[in-house]
């Protein structure tokens, strides 16, 4: 039982130690500046709060940075942030690779690195950052300042600053309506277009049409009903067309048309067949009389 209790205590302590915020422990921080042929110009061994100043590097030099993470946890991010100490305040991140052993490093050749290093001779502040998801507080170490000289010939031009601001408002322009012609002219022609009706009735009036069969319809109520239904349905169809033009949409119109055309078809059959019968009777009687 006592053994078990001590085991419990150990596990509790172990869990406590992870609950108590772990912090990054970084050692063996080493910063070197080497010229192009490999000779070391500067070699600094650094301990956490220690700051270095008055570092200089020419445009062809390279900067080597090494460190070692003492934690068992490996960082997800380790980088040095360069901030230019002029009015532009350019920021350049240089990521370091960390091996499984905890050793991390990067090498930065100013001539091949970010073009921001080559805008001219200027000072950068360096901040070393280490962070990962299991440890809340990131490691933040202000290393100091370094002056990097600009290239001696054709430095890259700084891109002009993009200004984000509202563009002038665009107004939609509607095309002007096409001009309709004077209502007097169109009205005159509306009346003119109706005048051929006069010619129609004049010509038909001269024919001397025999209305006797129409009058005779009054004595045959079934035929009269068929005739009235036939002409009524045709008129109805025309009225449906008129309302289709003015306000009704297509699908109700098709429904009305379906009903009305069926009525017109059936009634028209009966009307026209009686007309045909009478015509045949007439021709036969004419044959007999001749």
């Amino acid at each position: 039982m006592a053994k078990f209790r001590s085991l419990l205590l150990v596990t509790l302590l172990a869990s406590l130690s992870t609950v108590i915020a772990e912090s990054w422990k970084v050692s063996d921080i080493n910063l070197q500046v080497a010229s192009r042929d490999g000779t070391k110009k500067i070699d600094h061994k650094l301990e956490y709060p220690q700051v270095i100043d008055e570092l200089t590097a020419s445009s062809t030099d390279s900067l080597k940075f090494t460190f070692k993470i003492q934690n068992t946890e490996r960082p997800h991010q380790a980088m040095v942030l360069f901030q230019s100490q002029d009015e532009f305040q350019d920021e350049i991140m240089v990521a370091a690779s960390v091996k499984g052993s905890g050793k991390g490093r990067f090498e930065l050749e100013f001539a091949k690195a970010d073009p921001k290093f080559r805008y001219g001779t200027r000072k950068y502040s360096m901040t070393f950052l280490v962070g990962g998801p299991k440890i809340d507080e990131p490691f933040k170490y202000k290393l100091g300042q370094i002056e990097v000289q600009g290239p001696s010939s054709n430095p890259p031009t700084r891109p002009t600053r993009v200004e984000y601001k509202a563009r002038p408002e665009i107004y939609h322009q509607f095309r002007a309506d096409q001009k309709l012609i004077n209502t007097a002219i169109s009205g005159t022609f509306t009346l003119l277009v109706l005048t051929p009706f006069a010619a129609l009735f004049l010509l038909w009036g001269q024919l001397g049409i025999n209305f006797a069969p129409l009058k005779a319809l009054a004595h045959r109520p079934l035929d009269l009903i068929a005739a009235v239904v036939f002409f009524g349905s045709i008129t109805g169809i025309e009225f449906v067309f008129y309302s289709y033009w003015t306000h009704v949409t297509l699908f109700p119109v098709l429904q009305y048309l379906g009903v009305l055309s069926l009525v017109a078809f059936i009634s028209g059959r009966s009307v026209l067949s009686t007309v045909q019968e009478r015509r045949l009777q007439r021709t036969e009687s004419a044959k007999k009389s001749s």
Binding site: I185, F189, V193, P196, A199
Partner: protein, 112 residues
């Protein structure tokens, strides 16, 4: 000149004498449709085609009505009866009505 006059007068008199009344009725209708179409066309020459669909609908309706009336006249003419043995005048009239309904539907659709 007098020959032309006499030719015209004989044409008119023979038309008045020999043409059946039903055909004269159709002829009167065709003259009416023709005049309407001409007036519409004159209007377009003066005013331009701006409501283009309206002009097209009106003019197409007159042209179609004229063509359908001409067909009705051909089919109901007793002299052509031998060419249309299966088409009685009543059948021709039914066709005329049905085709007019279709044309008017197209025209109403086009009037917009």
């Amino acid at each position: 000149m007098s020959e032309v006059q006499s030719a015209i007068s004989t044409l008119l008199s023979s038309y008045a004498k020999d043409t059946p009344k039903s055909l004269k009725l159709i002829d009167g209708y065709m003259v009416y449709v023709l005049l309407t179409g001409i007036i519409q066309f004159v209007y377009v020459c003066i005013a331009g085609t701006f409501p283009n669909n309206a002009f097209l609908a009106g003019f197409i309706s007159t042209v179609a009505a004229f063509v359908l009336a001409a067909n009705l006249r051909i089919q109901t003419n007793p002299k052509n009866a031998s060419q249309f043995p299966t088409t009685s005048p009543e059948r021709a009239f039914a066709d005329f009505i049905a085709c007019n309904v279709v044309v008017h539907f197209a025209v109403a659709n086009f009037l917009g």
